[in-house]
């Protein structure tokens, strides 16, 4: 039986840090699935089936968390005792919010560009560059023990996650229209 008291890094046998070995994560993930998946307990009793469902649910949640850089960062903070609430916590960095609005406006203007697909590719690249810089900053703050600043970075990551989604959706929409 899987020990539910382990933290997500322990489950996958990974060191507790932001940069992770994704290949090792995937390998261990498959091993755990092969062992605990409900398909292995089709002919088992109800208790076994329930446990299998719970265990794989837990493994999958841990896997999803470690795969996403924002969720992984948030989880690292949680392990250090800093909890944050997606509903109520938000950044108050005015300059950052202004910059976010600028990017949004740029996305809205894409449709007016002479080559909308090229324009959206440029913006998407800018967004991912800034998101990467934010990750580097988070690692630095976390290692320095500056948890408040690290938390601020995680809150900002959510904005970039949204921007990435929106630029992706916009790309799909543009491609659909071109077809």
């Amino acid at each position: 039986m899987l020990d539910f008291n382990q933290n997500y890094f322990e489950i996958f046998g990974l060191p507790e840090k932001f940069d992770i070995d994704k290949a090792a994560l995937e390998k261990r993930f498959r091993e755990l699935q092969a062992q605990y998946h409900p398909d292995r307990f089709i002919n088992g009793d109800d208790a076994e089936k329930r446990l299998a469902l719970q265990t794989t649910g837990f493994i999958n949640e841990a896997h999803e968390t470690l795969l996403s850089s924002r969720l992984r960062a948030r989880y690292l903070l949680k392990l250090k005792g800093v909890d944050l609430d997606d509903e109520t916590d938000t950044t108050h960095d005015g300059a950052f919010l202004m910059h976010q609005m600028e990017i949004r406006e740029a996305l809205e203007d894409v449709k007016n560009a002479t080559d909308p697909l090229a324009r959206i590719d440029d913006i998407a690249q800018e967004i991912s560059g800034e998101a990467d810089a934010l990750k580097d900053d988070f690692i630095e703050k976390l290692e320095a023990g500056n948890l408040d600043a690290a938390k601020e970075d995680v809150l900002k990551m959510k904005f970039y996650e949204r921007l990435c989604q929106e630029s992706k959706q916009l790309t799909e929409k543009l491609e659909d229209e071109l077809f």
């Binding site: 398909d39 292995r40 088992g44 469902l53 999958n60 609430d85």
Partner: protein
């Protein structure tokens, strides 16, 4: 030989006990059932050697249900009572009917059920009940072919199916009295059929499954690593399939011929499309119009449809974070992939010839049968494990009609995720939570799965209550939701009303009704049998009396016997109760006992010729 059999948890079957299991491809146009027999998976055929069961169900006025080829043949003559392509209605609501092509030939009943009910001469039926009839026919075919009861089945569904559609499929199986081991995505089944999981030349394979069926198109990108399948991305179009190719040609035929005979044009279009797979040029005919179409003409006409599928391929690859040359295998599924233009364009797109060796109509059922065999525990050493992802994001309605995603699409299942909510008014004791599935931002653009009423929240100031809503998606991709108020530990009451499904009560009702119907059927059969028996008894008496009544019976005795016969005749004609008829037969036999005894005497032996004693003994068994 091992002295000790160490069984894995959940694998507690006795060694060598083969459990009967089958894979079912419940398709829009055709359905199939396959099973593993002596180590190989094969599609099970009906008594006429047909593997494909047309997914068509016809309801007759006397309550009989006809499934398959015979129903399909009657489609044009009895379109209102002959339900085809019902898969498109699975898990759909009444409001969806307009968007489902708009040309459904059925009449829908007004009712208080959340799902549309089709009016037939035999009463109203839902898509779930129609699908259950198809499943019953397949179950019967399998149990006949395998010689025993099925322990369980794997039923395939399009990767794109949302929660309501998956639930509807499982409900149909429940009505058909089938134990579902697992709902399996069709593309995953296809990859299994090709045994790609058994290949060891690569550490990791990327497989694209291109499934162009009669009514749906699915593209799935799978990753395979040491016997573990992962669905990396899914995409497609739930309203694009071979039927649309038929419609394109049918429109061309109608335009060229000036005819209005759209049904006949469609039938001709289908024939032409199939003929063009083997011929470069095909003659076309409709009423007195004659024309001709080349494969090139055809390819040009349908190119936009093929392009549409390739666009979805592009998107799925992007979702998977891959480019097309990273794909190792392309698997072709669905009868429509027989079209050379489809094979060619898909090959061009992925830069490699697609796999077409297994009949594209059967490949999904074969894969499902292989998986069913493993799940039944017939292959304890088998490593195969299929991991699936949730095809569409799950979320909740928030302020302003927006949707907050709780579980993103392509998340590996099973998964459990909790989210906390709070009250926004002082002393608020109830809360409505609206569950949605889809990728869009607003409520209207997503599929409504259910509305929850959370009651019994303790009165508190606004924002103080902490309501934890837990989403659980099981390995079949089915969702259950629980809610609990955290600060007081009070478990809030949850009422689920599925937006597009059937409630448990409705399902129970249908099962009960079908059992009652079975009971009624049995009653009717018993009654018919007894009436036949009564006829036989009366005839036997008649012929016996015709032979010797004047010799061995007094006129009074003849009158007694005639009276008894008339009574039986009357009851036979007027009664609808088998037991009553049976009793009447007994009465008449009793009245005739003396006559039978007298005929046994030596002096009437000759008159007995041609008759058997049993004619007048207890013939009611």
């Amino acid at each position: 030989m091992a002295l000790l059999q160490i069984s894995e948890p959940g694998m507690s079957t006795a060694p060598h006990e083969h459990r009967l299991a089958a894979g079912i491809d419940l398709g829009t146009t055709n359905s199939l059932v396959a099973s593993v027999r002596s180590g190989t998976a094969e599609v099970l055929e009906d008594e006429n050697g047909q593997a494909l069961l047309p997914s068509v169900v016809r309801y007759l006025e006397n309550g009989d249900v006809i499934v398959g080829q015979q129903a399909k043949a009657a489609q044009l003559d009895d379109i209102e009572n002959t339900i085809a392509s019902v898969k498109r209605l699975m898990g759909r609501g009444i409001s969806d009917l307009k968007t489902l092509g708009g040309n459904l030939p059925y009449t829908f009943a007004e009712g208080d059920m959340a799902v549309p009910q089709i009016k037939t001469v035999a009463g109203n039926v839902t898509a779930i009940e129609v699908s259950a009839e198809i499943l019953k026919a397949l179950k019967e075919r399998a149990e006949k072919a395998l010689g025993g009861e099925l322990k369980g089945v794997v039923i395939t569904v399009p990767a794109y199916f949302d929660d309501a559609q998956r639930q509807a499929t499982k409900d149909a199986a429940r009505l058909a009295n089938l134990n579902v081991f697992r709902l399996l995505n069709e593309p995953t089944a296809a990859a299994v059929a090709y045994g790609l999981d058994q290949k060891e030349d690569l550490d990791e394979r990327i497989i694209a499954v291109y499934d162009l069926g009669g009514g749906t198109f699915d593209i799935s990108i799978l990753k395979l690593n040491k016997g573990v399948f992962e669905v990396m991305a899914t995409g497609g179009d739930s309203a694009l399939g071979g039927d649309d190719f038929d419609h394109v040609i049918a429109e061309w035929i109608l335009q060229q011929s000036g005819s209005q005979q759209s049904h006949h044009a469609l039938a001709e279009a289908r024939r032409v499309k199939e003929a063009l797979s083997d011929n470069e040029q095909v003659d076309v005919q409709l009423e007195d119009w004659q024309g001709s179409i080349s494969r090139n003409d055809f390819n040009q006409m349908v190119e936009p449809l093929v392009k549409k599928t390739l666009l979805a391929c592009r998107r799925a690859l992007r979702d998977a974070g891959l480019n097309k040359n990273q794909v190792h295998d392309v698997v072709m599924v669905g009868g429509s992939t027989r079209m050379p233009v489809v094979r060619e364009k898909v090959g061009d797109f992925f830069g490699k010839p697609p796999l077409v060796d297994i009949d594209p109509d059967k490949v999904v059922a074969i894969g499902a049968a292989l998986q069913a065999d493993v799940l039944a525990g017939n292959k304890p050493d088998e490593e195969m494990l299929l991991l699936d992802v949730i095809p569409l994001s799950l979320g909740l309605e928030t302020y302003g009609g927006l949707v907050e995603k709780v579980i993103a699409r392509n998340t590996t299942i099973p998964i459990t995720r909790a989210q906390e909510f709070t009250t926004f008014k002082d002393n608020q004791t109830a809360m409505t939570i609206h569950l949605l599935q889809g990728e869009r931002e607003t409520v209207e653009e997503n599929r409504s799965l259910a509305k929850f009423s959370l009651k019994g929240i303790p009165p508190m100031v606004a924002g103080a209550a902490r309501i934890k809503v837990t989403f659980k998606v099981d390995a079949d991709g089915l969702l259950t939701v629980e809610a609990e108020e955290q600060t007081t530990g009070v478990k809030a009451g949850v009422e689920v009303k599925p937006s597009y499904g059937l409630t448990d009560n409705e399902i129970e009702g249908m099962i009960r009704e079908s059992m009652e119907n079975a009971q009624a059927d049995m009653e009717a059969r018993k009654l018919r049998e007894q009436k036949v028996e009564a006829d036989r008894t009366l005839e036997a008496l008649d012929s016996a009396m015709a032979a010797d009544a004047d010799k061995i019976l007094s006129p009074d005795e003849v009158a007694t016997l005639q009276k008894a016969a008339a009574q039986l005749q009357h009851i036979k004609e007027s009664s609808d109760n088998a037991d009553e008829v049976k009793a009447a037969i007994k009465n008449m036999e009793k009245a005739a006992e003396f006559y039978v005894a007298r005929r046994m005497d030596d002096n009437v032996k000759t008159a007995m010729a041609g008759h058997n004693v049993s004619d007048f003994s207890d013939t009611t068994e």
